[in-house]
């Protein structure tokens, strides 16, 4: 009995050495190009326009990917295809949460929820039909017209000021591929599962 146990220990020890070599090899091999084969989608609002960007990796965009836009109840509002640089823009159809789905063919699909709160207050849609822009803002009293003008000017200035910030936010929120944490974590899980299975099988064997 003792003999077979020592043999088993030896086999395990030998295998563990190879585990370490394999792990090192793969970590080194992947460290340089950590990116996933997955389609990403991101959307942001600028004024009354929603911009959608879809990409596989930083350099590879989704060309001619089908973009579908749904509202909260699941009715399709519009659809279109991305251009060569993976972009698609459309006028904000409704001020609710929008579900934007990209289908890049051959089983690649992802979606992005554009929350209603992300759409800026006082953008064209919120004001209802008859867009409130400079030329349509016809008000009866001069004072009211003045405040209306100020409101529009302030809004324009703020929007211009915020543009770089919202761009940056979009960049930050953009999904990144998996990092080293996920990779090492995953390997850890696999060896954890290995330990668990060995424990269970070993216990059964003893009985």
């Amino acid at each position: 009995m003792i003999n077979s146990d020592t043999i088993r220990d030896k086999i395990l020890f030998n295998n563990l050495r190879y585990i370490l070599v394999f792990m090192l090899f793969f970590i080194l091999a992947t460290a340089s190009s950590v990116k996933a084969h997955k389609v990403y989608i991101y959307a942001w609002v600028e004024g009354d326009t929603v911009h959608v960007e879809s990409y596989f990796s930083k350099t590879r965009k989704v060309n001619e990917g089908l973009i579908q836009v749904f509202d909260t109840s699941g009715t399709k509002l519009l659809e279109g295809r991305t251009n060569k640089s993976g972009e698609f823009s459309f006028a904000l159809p409704k001020k609710t949460d929008l579900r934007i789905v990209v289908g890049a063919g051959t089983g690649h699909r992802n979606e992005y929820i554009l929350e209603g709160e992300e759409t800026p207050e006082g953008s064209g849609v919120a004001a209802g039909p008859g867009k409130t822009t400079d030329e349509t803002a016809v008000s009866p009293s001069p004072i009211q017209a003045d405040t209306e003008h100020i409101r529009i000017i302030v809004e324009q200035v703020i929007e211009a000021r915020l543009k770089p910030i919202s761009r940056e936010l979009a960049e930050i929120r953009r999904e990144k591929g998996p990092g080293l944490t996920e990779i090492i974590g995953g390997i850890g899980y696999i060896f954890g599962i290995m330990g668990l299975i060995m424990y269970l099988k070993g216990r059964r064997k003893k009985r």
Binding site: M23, F56, T106, P178, I183, I190, M194, M198
Partner: protein, 202 residues
């Protein structure tokens, strides 16, 4: 080859999951105590292989390694691939949890099939017979996997021939690379650690 969530219809997802459970059950029955560490290594290798991108022209594709897993594990490739895919789905968002079953089937069935087709050749003592068989094992596992993915996608309304052509064309370089990797790995293991190859001699 990872099919995302929400692409396939429930009947295909359910039948995929059922097949995956069946294969995993067979694999777990064949998993003896001594094989567990080897299985874990290959599962970890598979888990990471999908991050190794090979840039080809405008697009890039990733390694799958299912041929190598089949050759080294036989039926046990099923549970090993299932665990790898589960963690890829959770941590990398590759594929998805609902499509886990069908993705397992797409990658494991070719692995096991190629194992049975090529194991005699791979175990041959003649250098070129062994090399060619292991190369073909790696090559055909990816090819078969692509064809299975294309079959699964027909039911979504994408035309089979068109999808198959796109997937196979995109993966042709991967097939060749996988073939070479499988051949080199098996050759290396034969010299350094022949115990790893016990399944092909069973």
């Amino acid at each position: 080859m990872h099919i995302s969530e929400g692409v396939l219809s429930p009947p295909i997802l359910i039948s995929g999951a059922a097949l995956a459970i069946l294969g995993t059950a067979v694999g777990l029955r064949k998993l003896d105590y001594e094989k567990i560490p080897k299985t874990a290594i290959l599962s970890a290798a598979f888990f990471i292989a999908s991050l190794v991108h090979i840039p080809i022209g405008p697009s890039s594709v990733h390694l799958i390694l299912n041929g190598l897993m089949g050759l080294l594990l036989g039926w046990v490739a099923f549970p090993a691939i299932l665990i790898g895919l589960l963690l890829q789905a959770i941590l990398f968002q590759h594929g998805g949890l609902t499509s886990l079953g069908i993705n397992t089937v797409i990658m494991s069935v070719p692995a096991v099939t190629c194992f049975f087709v090529f194991k005699t050749g791979a175990g041959s003592h003649r250098f070129w017979v062994s090399m060619t068989s292991t190369f073909l094992c790696g090559f055909c596992s990816v090819l078969l996997g692509n064809l299975m993915a294309a079959v699964a996608l027909i039911f979504t309304g994408e035309a089979f021939v068109a999808v198959a052509r796109v997937i196979v064309a995109a993966h042709l370089p991967v097939m060749i690379i996988e073939g070479i990797i499988t051949a080199i790995c098996v050759r290396f293991l034969k010299k350094v650690k022949p115990e790893m190859l016990e399944v092909i001699y069973d």
